[in-house]
Amino acid sequence: MTYAYYPGCSLKGTAIDYHTSAMALAERLGIELKEMEDWVCCGASPIHQRNPALASGVANLLLSLSKGISPQVAVLCAACYHNMKKAEVEMREDGKKRSEVEEISGIAFDPEVRTRHFLDILDKDYGLNALKEKVVKPLSDLRVACYYGCLLSRPPEIAFDDPEQPTIMERLLEAAGAETVSWSHRMECCGASHAVPLTHAVLRLVNDILQSARAAGAEVIACACPLCQANLDMRQAGILTKFGVAHNLPVVYFTQLLGLACGATGKEVMIEKGMVSAAPMLRAKNLL
């Protein structure tokens, strides 16, 4: 199983733990994520807010970089997935759009190419049963709140699971032995890149999300997006200052938990990178 891997900017910077843990997990599962060469930034949300034609043009360049590796493009970041999948679906279905984007990017679109989120690859290509067989350290007695945020399943045309009630992360983590909680804010937006220009709004949104996860008895939040992780983890200090609430709830990537379950070490999944460390809680449960 070889995929053309597009990391995107965050996975080489603020989300280096997401990249590293996904690589460690993929290696244990026998999945090859081969990084595409000379990739550029997808432009995240600002790019389509400014100019949708620019967003599609850049996505078409990125999709073309998979050539020679695999038409299956593996993506971990929710914003990268959203931009690339949206452009891919649009170009396949709308001939006029496709020629506009091909003109702007100067690149012919390959209709065989498929943008795939790593969650979807694990679920559909690899399969839960095969994953179960690789679990050497079940995540027993660990209560996880799976957080989807926005862009993994919106708009519905690009979703790889039910867009309103996804269960893909729960199914994967349960296959690895974890207990997942039912909670109200799993699909609520964290404010994404508004964390910089509109910090006050993001503190409000994140406070509600963390509150909801804790009320449901979660010991850790699992997410699949670098911006979700950054906002939910790094903004806890700001929430303490602004609202006087100390959540102290670790927020990790689903790849870190699955990696540990499949035998990777804490170092290999970079479990110490979080501002609110998950390490003491995981150690107490003998998972580290």
Binding site: K12, Q49, R50, L54, I104, G106, C150, V196, L198
Partner: protein, 208 residues
């Protein structure tokens, strides 16, 4: 926010202009409020998406561009996913932002626009986003010099911030796409504006 609705002239012009720009038909909105109910940003918005769409339907252009709403939209697309009439409301928010820029409107809230600009500039310059550089420029341009300075050292300590920008062999190619897409958007803007104005027998919409 309260508005006095006065329909004068061709109040459908704005609806036609948005339709020509992105294919979304706002006459399909029957004001059910589903978008506003699910919007995470309404507490900070001057008006929710439902009211914003109504201003467009009524052709109240000045009132529309005075709203902070499109600039506060987080592009989470909850509204788009849930609209019973399949209106891509998040795309309309993008289009209103673009129209405000192209028409040279005064933008009611500065920070999100500055963020958008410095983010895309960093990408255009380096090929990849260079977060420390972007934040430094954001603080300079927004005038909020010490914004989040406390987070920087913590992230550096955690090894989460690169010291130097990453670049890419496709940087020049990316810049070319930026240039071509910008030219394309300007040209499309001119065309749609002409089409929207070309409706015979009507004057221009006004909300004064």
């Amino acid at each position: 926010m309260k508005y006095q609705i006065r329909l004068t002239g061709d109040n459908a012009r704005l609806t036609r202009e948005i339709n020509a720009r992105c294919g979304v038909d706002l006459t399909q909105c029957y004001q059910c409020g589903e978008c506003t109910a699910g919007c995470p940003m309404t507490p900070e918005m001057d008006a929710g998406p439902t009211k914003t769409l109504r201003l467009i339907q009524l052709g109240m252009e000045d009132a529309l561009f005075d709203l902070n709403t499109p600039w506060l939209c987080a592009s989470c697309e909850t509204c788009t996913a849930r609209c019973p009439n399949d209106i891509d409301i998040a795309l309309v928010m993008d289009v209103v932002r673009q129209m405000a820029r192209l028409k040279g409107k005064k933008i009611p809230v500065k920070q999100p626009r500055v963020f958008q600009d410095v983010f895309l500039k960093s990408v255009e310059n380096n090929g990849r986003l260079y977060e420390p550089g972007m934040i430094a420029f954001y603080n300079l341009r927004s005038g909020d010099l010490f914004h989040d300075v406390g987070l920087g050292p913590k992230m550096l300590f955690k090894g989460k911030l690169p010291l130097l920008p990453h670049t890419s062999g496709n940087r020049e190619k990316l810049r070319e796409i930026f240039r071509k897409a910008e030219a394309f958007e300007k040209e499309a803007g001119k065309e749609t504006s002409r089409e929207a104005h070309a409706d015979p027998g009507h004057g221009s919409g006004s909300d004064t």
